[in-house]
Every structure is written in structure tokens, then in C-alpha cells.
Symmetry: C2
Subunit: 181 residues, 2 copies
Amino acid sequence: MKIRLATDADRDAIWSIFHDVVTGGDTYALDPNISREDALAYWFAAGTRTYVAEKGVAGDGLAVPGKPTASPAIVRARHILGTYILRPNQSGGGSHVANAGFMVSASARGQGIGRAMAEHCLHEARRLGFRAMQFNYVISTNTAAIRLWQDLGFEIVGTLAGAFRHPKKGYVDVYVMYRSL
Amino acid sequence: MKIRLATDADRDAIWSIFHDVVTGGDTYALDPNISREDALAYWFAAGTRTYVAEKGVAGDGLAVPGKPTASPAIVRARHILGTYILRPNQSGGGSHVANAGFMVSASARGQGIGRAMAEHCLHEARRLGFRAMQFNYVISTNTAAIRLWQDLGFEIVGTLAGAFRHPKKGYVDVYVMYRSL
């Protein structure tokens, strides 16, 4: 797997992952009906660095005599396993603290893609000179994410009581998580 | 004093207050060199309600025989004592929690303008159906604001270690403050 900066050619794959994640509606405080345009404007905003985790190129991308070749767009979409963004959490006197967001393709969960992207992200944040990283909105029912962030050195530094309306569980707490770099 | 929704005619006065506040650089994580255009785009963003606190109309606005009359723009600017914004802190499942930001004209500080706007804001937030209010970024050295928010029922629910680079004091903590409505 390779993690690299996203290009315009990745937009279809990113929208596909983004749409799946927000339609689930239980991990991000984003409108489940957000348009493709608004989603990509958010994920590729000015000042935001956008990355993708890409599966090593082999398999369906190869033209084999007698085998129907998938379109390049479909092949690319199949190969993007996840995406993340890295940006300053605030401007001015707060710009030394990074913020990041991660999304993994539904078909690629449970394979360590999130962890690999998070480790890459921490490395990138240090390289870019950030002194800390903050997650503003970790929903308390998202236990897999919380375990991963804690394992990577993040602490719960704040609790927002009932700040998220979970589609099945009603109002649940949200955590602010933070670590120095 | 009257607190009301801002109109386009208030933009000069708001920019004047905004510019003073961010140039100080010790209460907001905003670029002290932010342009007027970017500042007003932020303060009047889609989904944001923008209010002003206006001094009762009397005094310089009146035309008195023999007295030079100030231009309408200057009179208006003099009368705007402060401004605040109210908006959802998040989208989707987080949109029942409000966020707000307050700025008071340097010449009008210490007169209870901030408190009056905050009380108005809490009332507006309840009226609009918000269930809680969150301040994401209260700089720990801004003791007057912290005392006011605590007096109005907000609690410190999170501490971000060294998250703000104060222009004089170096890296200082930042608080997340929250209250239900």
C-alpha cells in the first residue's frame, strides 16, 4: 500500500468513500445528504492537504488477453482504500496545532488502513512543523477509532455531553482528543 | 442599547471592531493580517447569524443648527458597540449544538456589552431550538471572558495544552467551554 497526496484523478474514488461514510451517519457530524461538490470542496479546501491510501497496482488493472479490461476510472476507484486530510486546526496563534480526518472504504475496513494513514499523518504533521494534533469531534460510540487514537498517543482532553445525535442511539457524548508531537 | 441582526450597512463598523480585535492577537486564533474581505466573509458566512449591539440613537447623529453633521457612516460606526455571531457548531448529527463568537469595540469595553450580547445570544439559541452551546477556543489568558462564561453557566469541559501561541506569553492553554440550554 502506498500513501500519497491526492490528485484530481482521485476525486471519484474519494467521493465514493466519503459518500458511504457520511451516509452511515454515525462517525462524522456532516450532513448525510451533502452534495459531491460540497464534499470535495471540504476535502480539498484551501490550506488542507489531502492524501489517499492506494493499493499496490496489480490485478484488475492489467490487460490480459481474453479478459475484459475495466475502465481506468473503475480500476483507480478500486485501488483507493482510504483518504485523509491534514490541516491547521485554527489560524493565527493556533496554527501550530494540526487537525486531521480519516475515511476508509467500507470494503477495506479491519485491515489496518486507518492505522497506516494515521501513522503517515503524524509523520507528515511533524515534518510540516506542527507541534500538536487535535481531533475536535470523536463520537463516543466510535470505539474502534477511540482505541486506535489512544494507541497512537492521543488522550481524551474534553467531553461534550450529548453533542452528537446518533442515528440509532440518540444523543451521545463526543470527545476532544489531543496529543503533542 | 439595542441588539439586532446586522445588515450590510453595518459592515464598516463590524470590520473596524474585527480588525482591532484580531490585531491585538491575544483573544482569537485568527490571522492578525486577515483582509477585510475574508473577515466579513467569515462573520457573515452562510448559516451564520450576525448581530450587532447598537447604542441608543441620540447625540452625534442629530443635526443641530451650527454644528457640523458627521457623515452617516461615521455616526453608524460610532454607534455599533459590539458584534456577535451564532451558528451551528457542526453539521448533520452535531447541528443541535450552537457556537458563538463575540467582539466588543475597544472604546466600549468594561461596560457590560459582552454580557448583554451573550445573554441575548443564549436567548436566541434557545429560541432557534439549539440544545447546547460550545465555545471551541477560549484562550486561558482571557480571564475576563472565562469569568463571564462561567457566570453565564458555561463549564470548562476540555483543556488543550499549549494550543495558542500568545503574542507576549508564548504557548498557553486553551479551553473548550460548554453548557446545555
